[in-house]
């Protein structure tokens, strides 16, 4: 009973791939779906906003890919436990809402000491939260160590005044942050965190005037 070589080889190939497929079935099986859109209405109460904000942070915002809540040790990104307390005093002259708004719309404007820049601009793709969604996120962030004060009617200085041109990259930051205007505006390019590394790569067609 001799098995031809070609059959043996075929059997080996099938067995090997079969084995690896089997290994592939052993690991946790999880489908990752595009983030669900969360219903937002203009008349939400603060606690509803916070709840929706949390959902956005877990889903569409991808916040917990990098950030943690209540984790210690060497972290890649700042932990958000009790962040509202720190937000109030992080940048002189900024309220916690201002600080959160800046962190979201212009993440590179202020980097928490001890961390490297790396947060994408949240209202631009790939994450691309809307202004309303960002308000909800801020509402949630405020519950971490404080009370929600934003409402759906709060106007953030970064919002593009409803003319839908928010994506132009020429939004006005609030009164000069610690790193000044120019640093903040370069943050609006597609790959902001590397603006200094490959300066010619992220071409900004419409460079904003320095503040």
């Amino acid at each position: 009973m001799k098995v031809p070589v070609s059959l043996r080889i075929a059997a080996l190939a099938v067995a090997t791939t079969g084995f690896y497929t089997y290994v592939g079935q052993l690991v946790p099986q999880k489908e990752v779906h595009p983030p669900a859109e969360v219903a937002i209405s203009k008349d939400m109460k603060p606690d509803e906003m916070a709840k929706v904000g949390r959902e956005i942070m877990e889903g569409k915002g991808l916040c917990f890919t990098c950030h943690t809540i209540g984790k210690k040790g060497p972290l890649r990104f700042p932990d958000l436990e009790g962040v509202d307390v720190r937000a109030k005093s992080r940048v002189p002259g900024f309220s916690d809402v201002d600080y959160f708004a800046q962190s979201i719309y212009q993440p590179s404007a202020f980097i928490v000491p001890g961390f490297n820049p790396g947060m994408p601009v949240i209202n631009k793709p790939p994450i691309g939260l809307t202004d309303d969604e960002i308000l909800a996120v801020i509402a949630y962030l405020q519950t971490l160590g404080g009370k929600t004060t934003v409402t759906m009617q709060t106007k953030l200085p970064y919002q593009a005044g409803g003319n839908g041109q928010a994506a132009a990259g020429t939004v006005a930051p609030p009164p000069a942050g610690p790193t000044g205007g120019p640093a903040a505006t370069t943050a609006a390019a597609p790959a902001p965190q590397n603006a200094g590394k490959k300066p010619e790569t992220p071409q900004n067609p419409n460079p904003s005037p320095p503040q």
């Binding site: 890919t65 309303d132 790959a191």
Partner: protein, 625 residues
């Protein structure tokens, strides 16, 4: 002969049918429309939109069929994603083979040219034989992929074309030159002067690499787009080409292609060895397999470092992307990868140990195998230890948390880096032992040389292990830096020990001879196993590179709103990879068979008897053992 050819053809057809059957079965079981969250108030979900679009599409077509720009079309049965996936994977596998084989064929030819050893020339020719058919298969799958993209993803393809149209002409031009060089190189074997022929080979390689660089630009752009405005309008094609992941992918691919090509060539040799009729043939193919595998393993050793480079650039482009890769849905993929790479190392070592069987006088090293094996297995185990362990409730309760108090130390980067470095050292040691089999050094400083080598090994191992242990006690920032001295000490060991070894064994007395062909036949199956594993690994890593974009066609620029926008389970991905790998091997065995035809005599009528007498010879000798 006719009968046999017909049988082989039917067998191939059957094999094809079986794989298609397996594929449809697997896909029927797994493929389904994904669940989506309920529709939003402000905006429809992509899925709802996709369904609505489809419905609208059907309605319109029913009415009057005007020309309509569509975003997506569906591939019947298996869906667009899987169709494009399989076409792309097969295209890439053949392309990798076609690009890699000339690289080392040229190198081998060059060695043959310099050493005037005909054996090398013959070997290089043998490798090249596999090329021409593979080349046309590559082109076929490339065309399938292109049409697939144009038909199934028209909107996305239009966008890519708008960005990269300037690169198409050079690409087509290079493709033409590739064909020119390849065929002249192959058919001109022995017809030109060696220098001209070598120049042709060089041209082939340059053009091939050029093709790869251009194609890489397209696909890396999808992961890390640059050179475009925020709205996606093209600003600079050159910037779009040289995006963040372009160069790391180029480097990673060239190295991986060589490893892959070497392993497939070795598999070819193994296939020929097992079917060989004479001892000469066996000897030749044993040697060819050895060289192919040697090339593969040599290219494989620096591959992890190229991988680090790629990962670093991904992180540099977008932390989100990097963390999705290493932490999110794909983190378990790297455990599967660890299993594959562990298997590769184990198999490579095993092949070397088996290779000692063909050297008389290698028995003295047999006793070390046990310890080398324990080292390899231990490192393998450490590497494959997951960080977050799958465990049941009672196990979690018993552990007092999801981390095991002992095993948690094996799940972190320190342990894994150490394990990989020790694995590389061990493999190198195996190779060294293999090299030494049947030789006794004659130089006066033999003892000192041996001791120096041993000392270098021990020092390197000590550095690697102690840095690995120290890694648990220092901050993350310092710990990441430790991998550099670890790698450097391993590289230093490999270089310095080799240098010492070369001098040590210069004019060594031969106590045993290399009896090519006299290796246990199982070793040839190991070569095939290595080739399959390599192919599978390429499929898997191709999936993670591509799947990383998740629900984006071009990350952050063009959203995937088709029904395939979700990231499938790893189980599903591994099944598709398996289907691709099986298809590839079915096709490559067709290539092997074609290559074997070239050596055969032209057909002429033969008496029945001749065929009868031939049969026993065709019985694989190796299989009897």
């Amino acid at each position: 002969m006719m009968k046999k050819g017909l049988a082989a053809f039917l067998a191939a057809l059957l094999g094809f049918a079986v794989i298609v059957g397996i594929a449809t079965f697997l896909l029927r079981r797994e493929y389904h429309a994904p669940y989506r969250a309920p529709a939003a108030v402000t905006q429809e979900t992509p899925r709802a939109q996709g369904i609505a679009d489809e419905k609208a599409e059907v309605e319109k077509r029913d009415k009057e069929k005007p020309y309509q720009e569509v975003e997506y079309r569906q591939f019947p049965k298996i869906g667009s994603r899987v169709a494009v996936w399989i076409a792309a994977q097969l295209h890439l596998l053949f392309a990798a083979f076609v690009l890699a084989v000339p690289l080392f064929a040229l190198a081998i030819e060059f060695i043959g040219y310099r050493t005037k050893d005909r054996r090398y020339d013959r070997l290089a020719h043998e490798f090249t034989k596999l090329l021409s058919v593979s080349f046309s298969l590559t082109a076929t799958f490339g065309a399938m992929l292109t049409f697939g993209l144009i038909i199934l993803y028209p909107k996305f393809t239009t966008y890519l074309v708008s960005v990269f149209s300037p690169t198409f002409l050079p690409y087509v031009g290079l493709f033409f030159f590739e064909a020119f060089f390849l065929y002249t190189y192959y058919y001109g074997w022995g017809k030109f002067s060696p220098r001209v022929h070598l120049a042709l080979g060089l041209g082939l390689n340059v053009v091939g690499t050029g093709i790869m660089l251009i194609a890489n630009a397209w696909l890396t752009f999808m992961t890390s787009p640059s050179g475009i405005s925020e709205k996606g309008a093209l600003i600079s094609t050159w910037d779009a080409v040289r995006n963040y992941t372009w160069m790391p992918i180029n480097v990673h691919r060239i190295i991986a292609n060589v490893a892959f090509g070497g392993s497939v060539a070795a598999a070819y040799a193994a296939f020929k060895f097992l079917g060989a009729k004479t001892d000469e043939e066996r000897a030749h193919y044993d040697w060819m397999g050895y060289i192919g595998n040697f090339v593969a393993i040599c290219a494989f050793l620096p591959l992890p470092f190229a991988g680090y480079y790629l990962a670093k650039e991904i992180y540099a482009y977008s932390q989100t992307l990097g963390l999705t890769m290493m932490g999110g849905a794909f983190s378990w993929l790297f455990i599967i990868q660890a299993v594959l790479i562990g298997n590769l190392f184990l198999a490579a070592n095993y092949y070397l140990w088996l290779g000692m069987g063909r050297i008389s006088g290698a028995e003295q090293f047999q006793k070390y195998i046990k310890y080398l094996l324990i080292l390899v297995a231990t490192c393998f185990a450490v590497w494959a230890t997951p960080r977050s362990i799958i465990s049941t409730v009672s196990e979690v309760r018993a552990m007092g948390g999801s981390a095991h108090p002992a095993l948690q130390f094996l799940g972190v980067m320190s342990a894994k880096n150490t394990a990989v470095n020790i694995l590389i050292l061990t493999t190198f040691l195996s190779f060294l032992l293999y090299r030494r089999s049947g030789k006794t050094p004659t130089v006066s400083w033999a003892k000192a040389g041996n001791r120096a080598q041993l000392a270098i090994f021990l020092v390197a191992a000590t550095i690697v292990i102690s840095l690995g242990i120290l890694g648990y006690f220092v901050e993350a920032r310092v710990r990441i830096g430790f991998s550099i001295p670890q790698v450097l000490s391993v590289l230093f060991t490999m270089v310095s020990v080799t240098v010492i070894d070369v001098f040590l064994y210069r004019n060594a007395t031969k106590t045993g001879e290399v009896r090519w062909g006299q290796i246990a036949p199982i070793s040839q199956y190991v070569l095939i196993f290595i080739a399959v594993t390599f192919t599978w690994l390429m499929g898997l890593m191709g999936y993670v590179r591509s799947g990383l974009r998740q629900h984006w066609h071009v990350y952050g620029v063009i959203r995937d709103t088709s029904v395939d926008a979700f990231t499938p389970t790893l189980g599903f991905a591994t099944r598709i990879v398996s289907v691709c790998v099986l298809l590839f091997f079915l096709l490559i065995s067709f290539v092997f068979w074609l290559a074997s035809l070239t050596g055969k005599k032209d057909w002429e009528p033969r008496p029945e008897k001749a065929a009868e007498t031939e049969r026993p010879g065709l019985e694989p000798v190796g299989a009897a053992e």
